[in-house]
Symmetry: C2
């Protein structure tokens, strides 16, 4: 194992869903309290808190959110707010890793929280795209639809491939008691559901969810004091243009394929290369992967951009791996069999924006440590030892990738 960066020693999360009767702070406190209890530590052992939260100024009309937490918790310790749109949770983990590596913190709480049902989520989320995109009337569903269409055009990806991703993620949420949607669906359900932005339908889209997730991270030297430590051995964060049209390989820039930027997310590619290099692992080692499937097309892009298959071949991997009868979809990638989005991903587990990037670690921690209520090991044929999390902001304007290993 390469030098570990930090160890996860406790996790907690709320249910994800539409909780009109619950508040932002209550959700955050539930997740944080559970993570602290899971780690078996006292609150005062926490040196600092890293909170991922994208929209509190809009959904809560509350800024200075770090001190809003200080008030609730009655602490003067450093509480650091982390924001990179939908990658705010992943950024919180990245920054917490930085804090631990700096020697300034031994034990930190990392949280992600969002309360989306207070406001019109789509228009609130619009501020994470470029002004030009907003001016021309784009929404995030429309931007991802344009990516899906181009992928279908360039690589022959079928509408059914997208639908199969949704079906698979709903399968994985079936036994996840915290998931927003545990109902089982078919390819037909997805294809015949309400159109959102062609080719994407309602069932291609992650839901508007409320929720929170939290981790206790400690410096590696502390790991062995805990029951189920899981190491983070790779941590990368990469930025790119906020506007999809302004990236490398899009129509606005010279390129061999002037639309390649619509079918590939460079930030995903760079971040996963960096995190894997740091961890000394390859895609072959990775057994479970939590990807940012805000829309079904994004799971195909992630599969390709991280290199699990060749560019353009993601739809075929999905089709070849699809098994309607199995409880899990095991992707047959160029580097072996992997399970993606073990608890349902953003699509079925839910997507309370900043909670998502932290929730991915909760999922991996529970799978790797064997405490998950919806374990994937039977379908993998063994207990997984290695996991990867992938969280993006906007249409790929930011990406965080982390590699996790059992101690």
């Amino acid at each position: 194992m390469n030098k570990p960066i930090a160890a996860i020693v406790g996790v907690g999360r709320t249910d994800f869903g539409e909780f009109y009767e619950r508040g932002y702070m209550g959700l955050a406190l539930e997740a944080g309290t559970k993570a602290i209890e899971c780690a078996g530590i006292e609150k005062n052992e926490i040196d600092g808190i890293f909170i991922g939260s994208f929209l509190p100024e809009i959904t809560e009309n509350q800024g200075l959110i770090s001190s809003y937490f200080a008030e609730e918790l009655g602490t003067n310790k450093p509480i650091i707010r982390n924001e990179a749109a939908c990658a705010s949770g992943g950024l919180a983990v990245y920054n917490a890793c930085m804090g631990i590596r700096s020697g300034m913190f031994d034990t930190v709480l990392v949280g992600g929280v969002e309360k989306l049902t207070n406001k019109d989520a789509t228009s609130s989320l619009n501020i994470a795209m470029s002004n030009e995109e907003r001016q021309y009337g784009f929404t995030f569903p429309a931007l991802y639809a344009s990516m899906a269409l181009r992928h279908m055009h360039d690589y022959g990806t079928k509408r059914e491939h997208l639908a199969m991703i949704a079906v698979g993620n709903h399968k994985h949420a079936k036994d996840n008691k915290h998931a927003h949607f545990r109902n089982q669906i078919t390819v037909e359900t997805v294809m015949n559901s309400q159109p959102i932005a062609y080719p994407l339908t309602l069932f291609d889209s992650s839901p508007v969810s409320d929720g929170a997730a939290a981790l206790v991270l400690v410096k590696p030297e502390f790991a062995k004091k805990f029951e189920n430590p899981i190491y983070i051995t790779g941590s990368a964060y990469v930025t790119d243009s906020v506007g999809l049209y302004a990236r490398e390989g899009t129509a606005s820039k010279e390129s061999e394929n002037p639309f390649a930027g619509f079918t590939s997310i460079k930030a995903t590619k760079l971040a996963s290369e960096k995190a894997l290099e740091q961890s000394g692992k390859t895609l072959r080692d990775i057994e479970i992967v939590e990807v940012h499937d805000c829309f079904t097309i994004e799971q195909i892009l992630a599969l390709e951009d991280m290199g699990f298959c060749k560019k353009g071949n993601g739809g075929n991997v999905v089709e070849d791996s699809f098994d309607n009868k199995s409880s899990h979809i095991v992707y047959k990638t160029d580097y072996g069999e992997k399970i993606f989005n073990c608890g349902g991903g953003l699509k079925a587990d839910g997507h309370p924006v900043s909670a998502t990037g932290v929730r991915q670690f909760v999922e991996c921690y529970e799978q790797l440590s064997g405490i998950s209520g919806h374990p994937v090991y039977k379908n993998l044929g063994k207990m997984p030892d290695y996991a990867l999390t992938h969280n993006i902001g906007g249409t790929g304007a930011a990406a965080t990738v982390h590699v996790l290993e059992i101690c």
Copy 2:
């Protein structure tokens, strides 16, 4: 010298003022470019960027600001947004120091930027107070006025003391070519100006400014390669309740003096103790101090809370040090003579929120390295070797304090 955390090797800033014709990004780029030129490095030597910005979602209708910068700069490097209301600039420096200490970054650009004249600033800034305070109709001027009134009631602080602070800060801005206000004022100007919230008038209040400031920070081992390196040897960030009424020693909590929390900012006290301890310096060593004088009363609170004089004696220090004829006000503190707010502070240099916490470092760097256009050394009798910066968010819900030393 205790172990240095990082070295400042280049600084840049824009003019501060009401720039209706200038944009957010243009201001940020001007400051960043100047800092890079000042350091004499190439852009591609920068490993990462830490941006302090509080209100882009509101004033620019732009979120995911990190990637907005990535687009402008054409980079995929980590760009991290830092937000703690008016302490966002100080937090950006604190987090950049963390980044350097972590070993993840050797050379970083730290920026602070705000464009306040796009919107009604007072109501935009209101989101940095607690919901309860807003519901009862408070604004920040009103909250600071309540602190000023209580200080006058408990300690006999005079209205004139507050005015003298404004006069002194305008004196210091006289030769600061970047300052929002370089005009010279009198105690009468302040006392007879437009009432804002009794006892504070227009001239007790920092202005609504646009502007940006930036630093190039490198790891200590790199410092000697540069012409004028200045070390950061202490870096602290402390949080407290977002609501003033909810802090220790306010009416809502049991306390010997049930109003002590209105006349003292605990976050300032804790952060300055921590930063000084880290640096191995005492208040006696510090020669120049940049404090967060968003309203004149706050300069008195900072003087007392950092321990330059006893609680309640700040007004007397100001009166005893006041010299209408001198170009600078030299405070006669319990730990020797100090110059506060060398370039005019928030009051006269201006207060483009998140730029402020970074601008304080620009000021100290220029004073310590001897390149300032408005040097204070003649009034100190020597070139200063040690400086301290103090930046707060809300009414003291967050505070950052840093100690700077010449190499």
